[in-house]
Symmetry: C2
Subunit: 329 residues, 2 copies
């Protein structure tokens, strides 16, 4: 992919036409870290932006073992049955460590992945969370331009990626196990407060009574938190993704959420705010990278930091020393 | 205060000697935004740093009306009665808007402020939260060098300042009213999770039964959250600051906290981490200020931001455009 105007135009055409090969190629382009690719990607994005924005964007998070794949498969098939096209983008922050990724595993969501109306794509390994999340956000826009009605963005729920995902979706859904308070203690701080909906999965068989208790506990916990929207109080739903039970009620609640928050103009407002705050996050992250990359900083940092650790200089003094080095022309 | 080595040495001497006039002058110096003062302040800090670190640093937060002043007065007098010297530093983020500050009001903590063993100082108005908090942190170090045993850092509990304060203290204490769940919903997200101890104030007279119920609710809410220390589970205590009831139990719990977390090396570790993360916060904030201050950025920003808002360009593209302008030599 070189600086080829014709090639970009062709990709845009293919995306607009709903061709999955064009979509896949476009995502590969935006994932590239080569600077000439980045310029192509920017031109591509500029062209597809007017076509984006028509889907409902849903973040789905939950710890390993909660049954995310089964849920997304069941939920996705349900939506396809209703005539929707569904894209699933998965962020796995651990993939930078493990090299390969559980999320890239072909055996996940086996039935869903074979559907013409579904598109499943894991986010690749990246050096920064912001980098991974940026590419996911842009992939989401590409999927929208390609005509997908529902975009599911999946995270593993153990890292910082949830906050980044909440910053790019309309609605945040947290999958939990029927284990109640004990599980809440294990959930990373603040994650619960991001949730517009909590879904207790595995509410079947032996676990049904536990699921009821857990749902009541989660409901009480949510009641103690400040709702993030004036038009929506977080809901707690139960389901058995394995037995396809409760999926329809979840989708109904999502539709209610969408209707209420579009009518009150909250979703469009939120998206504009998200875009602006995204720009600033990018700026901050890039500034810090530029700072750390400067050879003079690299040379001075270790010594200054150790002086802070040993209590020889105050943190603000240290920062000012380094800043002076960085900003020196 | 000019670049006068003798003057700084004298200030250091006065601080080491516990003279409140020297302490007050030193705090005024670190609060100054003049760059020559800043250099003096850095030299001063470097000299007093080895004398700092011996106090217990306690953050105290609570919404207006919870009785913070009465609590601090009652708590402070109790500590003085035990032979301790107590410094109170107050951060009021609203003071930059109102000009004057409720926290500067001379009628607050009337009895405490007249004690020789007490030192009370509000943080002045500032343009950034980071700036205010940095000065508070440095004022805390000066108070320590001046021999204060307990430093109380007070915030009004409605803004972002709590996180900044939690980043500079050993222990975070949240004052709450006897109104239970309703109040929790009004508390800013995440504040509850910062608390090492929750104190239900006004547990007296008619409100005593409500205070019992509220304490139980707060206890349940804390139980659902992940404790931030492996050696300490957040406690809930009741008190009536007005009637001086429950103050001793609160101090006992604080002493237990201090003993456990010093013995497990958690406080020293935390302080080192705080210092390093403080340095990085300063660096990030200063980078962003330098970015925004650059005339070329100032010129381009509005246009680029409006293109992001109208959906003409992607946030990452916008960020890259601006970064290129900033980093151009």
């Amino acid at each position: 992919m070189t600086k080829d105007k014709g090639k970009i135009d062709k990709l845009v055409e293919g995306i607009a036409d709903g061709q999955r090969r064009a979509l896949a190629q476009a995502i590969t382009l935006i994932e590239s870290t080569r600077s000439d690719h980045r310029e192509d990607a920017d031109r591509l994005l500029e062209q597809i932006l007017p076509m984006s924005g028509k889907s409902i964007r849903i973040g789905i998070s939950g710890v390993p073992g909660v049954g995310k794949s089964t849920f997304i498969e069941s939920f996705g098939m349900h939506l396809i049955g209703k005539g929707f096209r569904v894209a699933v983008l998965a962020i796995d922050p651990s993939s930078q460590r493990t090299g390969g990724s559980i999320l890239g595993d072909k055996t996940r969501m086996e039935i869903l992945s074979r559907q013409e109306a579904a598109f499943i794509r894991p986010s690749p390994a990246g050096t920064t969370l912001g980098g991974v999340a940026r590419r996911t956000r842009e992939a989401m826009l590409l999927c929208e331009a390609s005509g997908f009605d529902v975009i599911l963005i999946e995270t593993v729920g153990v890292g910082q990626s949830e906050t980044a995902v909440a910053e790019m979706v309309d609605m945040f859904l947290l999958l939990l196990l029927p284990s109640g308070g004990d599980e809440l203690q294990g959930i990373k701080k603040g994650i619960m407060e991001l949730a517009d909906m909590v879904v207790v999965n595995k509410a079947d068989g032996d676990l049904a009574p536990a699921a009821n208790r857990a749902a009541a506990e989660y409901h009480a916990a949510l009641g103690l938190m400040r709702p993030s929207s004036p038009n929506w109080k977080p809901r707690v739903k139960k389901c058995s993704a394995l037995n396809n039970e409760g999926i329809d009620e979840i989708w109904s609640a999502i539709e209610e959420f969408r209707t209420k928050l579009w009518e009150s103009n909250e979703i469009p407002d939120k998206r504009v705010k998200q875009a602006v705050s995204w720009m600033w996050s990018e700026i901050k992250e890039s500034l810090l990278l530029a700072f750390k990359d400067k050879p003079e900083i690299d040379k001075a940092l270790e010594k200054v930091e150790s002086e802070v650790i040993s209590g020889k200089i105050a943190p603000a003094t240290a920062a000012r020393k380094l800043l002076n080095i960085f900003l020196k022309p």
